[in-house]
Symmetry: C2
Subunit: 214 residues, 2 copies
């Protein structure tokens, strides 16, 4: 007899898994191949359910031609937005977010002031380019800064799922909400471990059925 | 017999009522006088309970000498922080906040770029001063941008209270959470209406006791 199946565990995926060259290579050389590589493995793991917020799926379509998306992806990777009108977040989350943003806004102003002071000494275009980079880093990195980011962490929260993303902002705020997370670089190994234990599980009962006599 | 007293209605106050010269004058010529003026009226209204977040009360102490604060203020104006670890906010609130901030951040960068381009043409100090003003307006006005602001709206939410503030950010986000609010310029009239109806109420029963015969 097979051991009783636990409730399926859930995984919420970011696009980075398929799009970001640094982490995608585990699955394929380009986004379309990475999707196929993922499907090949994911299809063998009945113990896991995979989700992607609809908004994140739309982002994926900027990298993959819609015609090239295998039908199986829609069956295995469920698209679902979080229930934004039912879900709630703890109030302390709001405090930490507002405090974080407030500091970043002050930092952004100091960056701008420095750029104005440099404008007369250096090439204007270079000053603006460097300011843009510093400003974006100061105001956007390590924070949830788009509704897609909010979708990711809230969907993971709603489903009590494992969040797979490289986004530092999403990871930081997922931690505040007690959401499990995994870096995509470890994700293939994570998936393969399920296939491995699945194999061991199907081997084990046959031993029970036909116990070898010592 | 007096009519049954309803549950006391609650009011959450911002410092602006006592500090902001434009709205304070209803109660007194300076913050200390405004506090005394408020107490004189508030003490006559048993139907209302008054609250101020502790953080906002601390702000008030920047304008009023602690020694000048009448003991009655501590009895009539309750200091209380919201229960930030029990309270929750709806998820859509988080979406709207993040979207709002994202647009403001982009606007801030455009303001900074414009300033860098003007730096060579105009006086550097003037450019920086004007940039600071525009930047702060773009990133801070009409948004909750401090933990004191969050305290205000969450305390009003927790107590199901009327929020009295001039802060546009607090008003805008209070509306999203279904919190009642009132501009301080109308607050004195609001209070006086309670005293007025209190008088009428105490006049009415005597009529019932001794109905005049037609």
């Amino acid at each position: 007899m097979k051991s009783a199946r636990h409730r399926k565990d859930r995984v919420v995926l970011d696009t980075s898994l398929f799009v970001n060259p640094e982490v995608r290579n585990d699955f394929g050389d380009n986004p379309t191949e990475a999707i196929k590589g993922f499907l090949l493995i994911a299809g063998q793991i009945p113990a896991l359910e995979f989700y992607m917020p609809s908004s994140i799926f739309q982002e994926l379509l900027n990298f993959v031609n819609e015609k090239d998306i295998p039908g199986a992806l829609l069956a295995i990777l469920h698209q679902k937005a979080p229930g934004k009108h039912e879900l709630t977040t703890p109030a302390f989350f709001l405090y930490e977010l507002i405090e974080d943003i407030r500091e970043r806004i002050n930092k952004g102003l100091r960056i701008a002031e420095r750029a104005v002071r440099n404008a007369s000494k250096s090439d204007e275009r270079e000053v603006i380019q460097s300011m843009r980079k510093n400003y974006r880093e100061a105001l956007r990195e390590g924070i949830i800064d788009s509704k897609e980011d909010v979708d990711l962490i809230l969907l993971a929260k709603e489903l009590d799922a494992l969040l797979v993303t490289v986004d530092h902002g999403a990871i930081k705020w997922a931690e505040k909400l007690g959401i499990r997370w995994l870096l995509p670089s470890k994700f293939k190994d994570y998936l393969l471990s399920f296939i491995e234990s699945e194999k061991q599980e199907s081997a084990a009962p046959s031993k029970t059925k036909n116990p070898s006599k010592a």
